[in-house]
C-alpha cells in the first residue's frame, strides 16, 4: 500500500491550491462565458470585467501604478521570451546571474545574443562588487533569477537594479519562484521587466503568467512576440501600439486568470508575511534536520527551495524510494537549470529538490527528514 501523499514539489507547481481557486475557475466558466474585449453582451462584459480585475490585482500585488502595464502570457517562459525577443537587438550584450534557468539561456543562445555570467559566491549569489567591471558599452540588459529554482538562493535584485540604472541598463527579473514568497515591488526594487508565473507561489493554475513593465520601458519599442486579433483597431492589419493589446493577441485564458485572481486574493487575505514565515519555519526545520546527516549534502538558499544529494545514491533511485516508502514527491535532475547546477557543482547529475508551501505540515517535514536520513544510512552501509 502506498503511504499517504506528501507533496514537496511546490517549486514545479504549487499543490494543493486554496479551494477558492478552483471555485473561481468554475464560476468563470459558468458566469463569464463570453470573449473579453469582443462584443458587448453580458457574458462578454463579465469576462472583460474579470480580466480587468485580475490585471488590477496583479499590478497592485507587484506595486505597479498602471494596471495596463501588466501583460498576461501563458507562462513565465513566454513572458521571458516576449521581453528577450522584443527588447534585444543584434549586437546587444547581456549579463546573467550564475543561477539562470533555460527559459533565459535557450532564447539567448538561439538569438545569438552575447552574454557574460556574473560572478557569484559558491552558492551562486551575485557578487555586487563584480558587476561594474562586467558591463560593456553594448550591455543593455541584466537578467536575474530572483529565487533559484534549484537551491532557493535569493539575489539582491534591488541593489543589482540600482547598478543597472546607474549604467542605463535595464533589469529583467525572473520571479518564477519568488513571487508570492518574497515581497516584490517593481519600482522600489528597480525592476524594468518583472516576469512572473501564476501557478507557483501565487496559487493560480498552470497556463497563467506575464510581464509587468516598469515605467522606464518604452512599450512602442518592444516588438510583440505574437500578433493578431485584439478586438481593437480591427480595420487595420497593424498591431496596436497600446497596452495591453500590443502583447495580448488572441483570446485570453479567462478561466486560468480567474484562478490566479483568486490565488492573489487568498494571499492578500492570509497575509503574505504570515505565509512566508510559515514556509521559512518549515524550511528551517528541514534544513536543520538534514544538515548534520553524514552522506547528505545540502544546497540551500534562503528561499522555499532546498536541494540535496546523497552519497552513493542515484537521484532517480532516491526519488523513487522517497515516494514508494514515505509518499514524498520531489523533483530530481537538472530542473531545467544546467547553469545553476554548474555553479553549484552538481552538474550533470543534478540534485533532489524539496519545496514547501503553506499547506506543508511539520509532520510532512519530519517524515521527509526521516526518509532522507534512512536512505543516507542505507547507502552508507552498502559501501
Amino acid at each position: 500500500m502506498m503511504p499517504e501523499m506528501i507533496y514537496l514539489d511546490n517549486a514545479a507547481t504549487s499543490w494543493p491550491k486554496p479551494d477558492c481557486v478552483s471555485e473561481a475557475m468554475t464560476d468563470a466558466i459558468r458566469r463569464c462565458g463570453g470573449n473579453p474585449g469582443r462584443g458587448g453582451h453580458r457574458l462578454a462584459l463579465a469576462a472583460g470585467e474579470l480580466l480587468y480585475e485580475v490585471r488590477e490585482r496583479t499590478a497592485e500585488f507587484f506595486g505597479a501604478d498602471d494596471p495596463f502595464r501588466v501583460s498576461f502570457t501563458s507562462n513565465i517562459t513566454m513572458a521571458v521570451n516576449l521581453v528577450l525577443n522584443g527588447f534585444l537587438n543584434p549586437g546587444d550584450h547581456v549579463l546573467v546571474s550564475p543561477m539562470e534557468h533555460n527559459a533565459v539561456m535557450r532564447p539567448l543562445t538561439a538569438m545569438g545574443i552575447s552574454y557574460d555570467i556574473l560572478p557569484g559566491d559558491r552558492n551562486g549569489k551575485v557578487l555586487l562588487s563584480e558587476i561594474q567591471r562586467k558591463i560593456r558599452e553594448n550591455t543593455r540588459l541584466i537578467i536575474i533569477c530572483h529565487e533559484s529554482n534549484v537551491s532557493g538562493i535569493v539575489q539582491p535584485i534591488r541593489k543589482i537594479g540600482q547598478i543597472a540604472r546607474e549604467n542605463n541598463i535595464f533589469l529583467l527579473t525572473d520571479c518564477a519562484q519568488s513571487a508570492g514568497h518574497i515581497p516584490i515591488h517593481i519600482n522600489t526594487d528597480n525592476i524594468d521587466f518583472l516576469c512572473f508565473t501564476g501557478h507557483k507561489g501565487l496559487f493560480g493554475p498552470t497556463g497563467t503568467g506575464g510581464v509587468v513593465f516598469g515605467d522606464r520601458v518604452d512599450i512602442g519599442r518592444i516588438r510583440p512576440l505574437v500578433r493578431g486579433g485584439t478586438g481593437s483597431l480591427s480595420e487595420s492589419f497593424d498591431q496596436p501600439d497600446f497596452l495591453p493589446d500590443r502583447f495580448e493577441s488572441g483570446t485570453q485564458n479567462i478561466c486560468g486568470l480567474a484562478g490566479l485572481n483568486a490565488g492573489l486574493k487568498w494571499i492578500e487575505d492570509q497575509g503574505q508575511e504570515k505565509l512566508t514565515q510559515r514556509c521559512r519555519m518549515l524550511m528551517d526545520q528541514l534544513r536543520s534536520g538534514l544538515e548534520l546527516v553524514p552522506g547528505i549534502h545540502l544546497y540551500s538558499g534562503e528561499g522555499q527551495v532546498l536541494s540535496i544529494t546523497i552519497d552513493g545514491l542515484d537521484n532517480g533511485t532516491a526519488a523513487a524510494e522517497l515516494e514508494e516508502r514515505w509518499g514524498i514527491m520531489t523533483r530530481i535532475g537538472l530542473h531545467c537549470a544546467p547553469l545553476a547546477h554548474k555553479t553549484l557543482g552538481t552538474f550533470p547529475n543534478g540534485t533532489i529538490r524539496f519545496a514547501v508551501s503553506p499547506f506543508t505540515t511539520q509532520k510532512d517535514i519530519e517524515i521527509c527528514t526521516e526518509g532522507c536520513k534512512t536512505l543516507a544510512e542505507e547507502s552508507w552501509k552498502k559501501k
Partner: protein, 76 residues
C-alpha cells in the same frame, strides 16, 4: 429618453477602468457595444448622462492613457 453621451476607448480594458472609476465618483455609466457608425472595433464604449459631461471630461484628463473621444449619441 434623453440622448446619452458616448465615451470611446482604444481597448476594452480602458472601458472597465473608466466604468469603475466613474462609479466610485458617483457618476452613473454603463458599458455597451460600440455603435457601428463610430468604429469598426469589436469592443465596448462607456455611456453616461450628458449632465455629467463636465465631470467626465475633467476625470478623463487624469487618466494615464488616452481615450478616443467623447461624442453624443446624435453623432453616432
Amino acid at each position: 429618453m434623453e440622448k446619452e453621451m458616448i465615451l470611446l476607448v482604444h481597448t476594452s480594458g480602458h472601458a472597465f477602468n473608466i466604468e469603475k472609476a466613474l462609479k466610485k465618483r458617483g457618476i452613473q455609466c454603463r458599458l455597451t457595444p460600440i455603435p457601428r457608425k463610430v468604429s469598426s472595433d469589436c469592443g465596448i464604449c462607456v455611456r453616461f448622462d450628458p449632465q455629467n459631461l463636465q465631470a467626465v471630461e475633467s476625470f478623463v484628463q487624469t487618466l494615464p492613457f488616452e481615450i478616443q473621444g467623447i461624442i453624443s449619441e446624435d453623432e453616432a
